[in-house]
Amino acid sequence: MKKLIALIALFSAGGMSFAQNTPFKIKLSQPDQYIKICMDQVSATVTGYDGDELIIEALPDPNKQVPEEAKGLKLISIPERNADNQVINPVVKQYGPNLNITIPPGGYRYLAIKVPKTLPQLEVEMFNYLSGGRLIVNGINLIRIRGIIPFIKVDDVLSFDIINFDDWNDMKPEELRPDLYGTITLIDDGKVIKKAAAPGYFGSTTTITDGKVTRMRVGGKDYTRKKDIDSLIKRIPIDVVNVNKTADTVRKIKINGKIYAGDDLPAGLMTLPAYMTIRAPTPRSIVITNVKWTKQPMFINGKYYSRYYEIGANHADIDLSVPDTVKANLVFCSILGQIYSGLDAGAINASDTDIKAFKASFHLQQGIKTIRLNGGDSQFAITMVNNTGNIYLRKQK
């Protein structure tokens, strides 16, 4: 126990890096920790198991296949790239009881991650633009997924909250588009470099230079005079706390309080990729199976946790299997895609209550539909939205 406390004290001092080609292991200090794992350009399988350590191991990708196009061709070695390099360099930071584990990209393309089954909440942040990139999650209590991932499969979980976004515009600090009402904080390691107050309202673009607003673009017109800018500053300020120094690109936006962009968004932490113009390979899909559906309160290790049943995607297909015994409202919208269903109940226009449930997680859209499973339950909503991807709703076998 003393060793564990010492380890945590070291994390608290500013984080640690572990370069190793053996499995990275860390024993969880308490049962209600929140763990976030950040990965870049690597596929991963995250599995709940009966141990009490979190284990991360870089392994040869079991799904790696020689592409059909390479038939008859030889693999040419590329300098400085060792295909057998399985060294991972996790950086661990401790925030109170919670751990943030970042695994920078390396010579590996696949991580096997084991998580104690007793861990209540796990967040995975992954940016993977590689053809065939994937995240497989199995046997986790509450899973939260953020990032850009060609393929996501979630199986056997209590609750899920998935946002697979992919085509943000370039959002360098100086081009930050605060077309949101609210307080936005840009953070990097929690250390303040820049701080500025800038207005944000729908349709505007604000340029921040050395902590001051120097340009605003509103309604297609640029305003650079201080007088004009001051007159435009009428809404909620944006605090630029920090930016990513190496990429000179915003990595994270912390939302304090409510953000308004036509609809309310919840407070929370959004993480953005270094390059916002992301065009990850298609096809892309999110497959959800074997969820332990219930609206009953969820107690893990004797503590209450909120449930989430939310999927937000842009171009990814959403493929959701639901058992026909569940009594719930499926509330969904595909803005430009198609929706297919194998469920017995038909789709109807969403009620005000359903729309409210949808708005709690996503921007309001036109054409929100509801399927009332077994007569429905407006207090038990499963919400999902995508843009150009299709939605497939299936009866779980």
Binding site: A70, I76, P79, R279, A280, P281, T282, D317, G337
Partner: protein, 291 residues
């Protein structure tokens, strides 16, 4: 009177249909011109020919998209449709030497363009198609195809497939950032390089024979086995495959991670490839292929 009303209604309906799907062919004189084409929301099939005009021909719309295989056993309960618009190319004579054709987004998702085969050609495109078009198959939602062209080619933009066949070069393809994931280039193919008439451009800084910048796409190029070429690749995450006799070469600058340099037949024309996240295939050109 009722018949007349019905006739008028029918005429109005016929006019409406014609406005939506006019398959008019447009001829644009372009002798000895550098040709700039800009297109949005359409797959293009650009073919070189012996004439002097540019001939723009919108193709008939593709049949309705079939349900994907993954939807087997499910029924369609909601569907969005593409917005339509009339086909109105804008033609601008920039200078005596340059003619520019702008093809705005319209209900026509497939456009064939015949151009003088020796012309310099610059094509910018953004083809964020949500469904397959008549020129595309499989998972390819949009395609920019160029063939039978002997002039210099500059391509900038995004389509799921960028395909060149029977071209001579120099060729520059910039498919880096493209505005939409669904339009993101997945593959860049050069399937037949006609080097019989190619003469490297003699300048202080030699112009590459092929220069491809494709952040997320696979790059698949076929080269004649006899071609003398110096290949420079920046292949950040993908793999490189080849069946050509490539010999490692000393890079211009210090060796760096993911930078690959090699020579084909002792070196010669520069072939530069940046593939950030895709694989690169450099294969022996087999035989003449027609798209």
């Amino acid at each position: 009177m009722k018949k007349l009303t019905l006739l008028l209604l029918l005429f109005a309906y016929a006019s409406l249909c014609k406005a939506q799907y006019t398959l008019d062919i447009i001829n644009i004189p372009a002798k000895n011109k550098n040709i700039f084409i800009a297109s949005k929301g359409a797959s293009l099939d650009i073919i070189g020919y012996d004439g002097d005009d540019i001939i723009v021909k919108p193709l008939a719309p593709a049949p309705a998209t079939k349900a994907p295989a993954v939807a087997s056993g499910l029924k369609l309960i909601s569907s969005a449709t593409d917005a339509a618009g009339s086909f109105k190319p804008e033609i601008t004579q920039k200078t005596d030497k340059i003619i520019a054709i702008n093809l705005p987004e319209s209900s026509f998702k497939d456009i064939q363009i015949l151009v003088p085969k020796n012309a310099y050609l610059n094509v910018t495109f953004f083809t964020a198609l949500k469904v397959q078009s008549a020129l595309t198959t499989g998972s390819t939602r949009s395609k920019i195809s160029l063939s039978k062209l002997n002039g210099e080619l500059n391509l900038i933009g995004s389509a799921t497939l960028i395909s060149l066949n029977d071209v001579k070069g120099p060729i520059t393809i910039d498919a880096r950032d493209n505005g939409s994931a669904m339009a993101g280039a997945q593959k860049v193919i050069i399937s037949y390089l006609n080097t019989a008439k190619f003469k490297p451009v003699e300048t202080d800084k030699p112009k590459p024979l092929i220069n491809i910048i494709a952040r997320y796409a696979d790059v698949d190029i076929s080269l004649p086995a006899s071609l003398k070429a110096s290949i420079k690749g920046d292949i950040t995450y993908g793999d490189l495959y080849s069946d050509l006799a490539l010999t490692p070469a000393t890079p211009d600058a210090a060796a760096a991670k993911n930078l690959y340099t090699s020579n084909l037949n002792g070196g010669g024309d520069i072939i530069s490839i940046y593939a950030g996240y895709g694989n690169v295939y450099i294969r022996k050109q087999q035989s003449f292929k027609v798209n």
